[in-house]
């Protein structure tokens, strides 16, 4: 089971709606991939209304993280390996 606390993340938006996070990614990042709920990013299963947008910016991965009491956070994590994995998945689609 994943724990987001193990990641060195930066919060771009907090207490947002899933829709706001999707729109933020689409408008702020030229590169993104749509994934289904439950898709694993790092060690975290994504929660949300499909399609869930995940942003890519160089070595950074930008993804939504939902907590029942605090809405959805948009997190930015630097990880070249995960960014490359997501790019490869996008290419394969």
């Amino acid at each position: 089971m994943g724990c987001v606390e193990a990641l060195n993340y930066e919060i771009l938006i907090r207490d947002a709606s899933f829709k706001e996070c999707r729109e933020y990614i689409k408008s702020h990042f030229s590169e993104s991939i749509d994934v289904e709920p439950g898709f694993k990013i790092f060690d975290v299963h994504t929660i949300g209304v499909p399609p869930i947008a995940v942003g890519l910016d160089g070595d950074f991965v930008i993804f939504p993280y939902t907590k029942p009491c605090h809405g959805t956070f948009l997190l930015r994590v630097q990880d070249a390996e995960e960014a490359a994995r997501l790019r490869a998945l996008k290419k394969a689609k």
Binding site: M1, G2, S17, F18, E36, P37, G38, K40, H45, T46, I47, G48, V49, P50, T66, K67, P68, C69, H70, G71, T72
Partner: protein, 156 residues
């Protein structure tokens, strides 16, 4: 109440943030109804939501298995476990996200319980297949209980 160890059907109750008072009351009511119908309820919530249930039912007359919400999601995604029915408690945007996730990852028949001050707006945002059980209930659980009784999901 009969022990639930021989039940064949299972139901997952996905709790939301417990800030709206009716959640704990309705969860215990639903658990009771499900158990009486031979369905084994499993609760998945965050620490606060689960603790409210533990304290309300110290001798576990109603509660059976209780698990962490993230763990339940992981088990379903990884195909280690699934359920016959899934009830998602919704009173905010996060609740819709969890319900949409359950609709996508689980084969369970999905029921969403929508309540709280903004239940009307929330109902309109739900476009995935599910049975909607909605009432403007915040402190008083009876309006939501009434709709649940009309739907009678334990008989589905």
């Amino acid at each position: 109440m009969e022990p639930d160890t021989h039940s064949s059907k299972t139901a997952l109750l996905v709790l939301g943030c417990p800030q709206v008072p009716v959640q704990t009351s309705i969860a215990l009511y639903l658990i009771s109804r499900l158990k009486s119908s031979g369905i084994t309820p499993i609760v998945a919530g965050n620490k606060a939501a689960n603790t409210l249930l533990f304290v309300a039912d110290p001798d576990r007359h109603y509660l059976g298995e209780v698990t962490d919400l993230d763990r339940a999601v992981a088990q379903i995604v990884e195909k280690k476990r699934d359920f016959d029915q899934c009830f998602v408690f919704i009173h905010n945007d996060a609740g819709i996200s969890y319900a949409a996730t359950m609709a996508a990852i689980s084969k369970a028949r999905l029921f969403v319980l929508i309540y709280g001050e903004h239940q009307g707006d929330l109902v309109g945002q739900i476009t995935f297949p599910c049975t909607k059980i909605a009432a403007k209930a915040v402190h008083n659980p009876l309006p939501l209980k009434k709709v649940i009784d009309e739907v009678a999901p334990w008989a589905a």
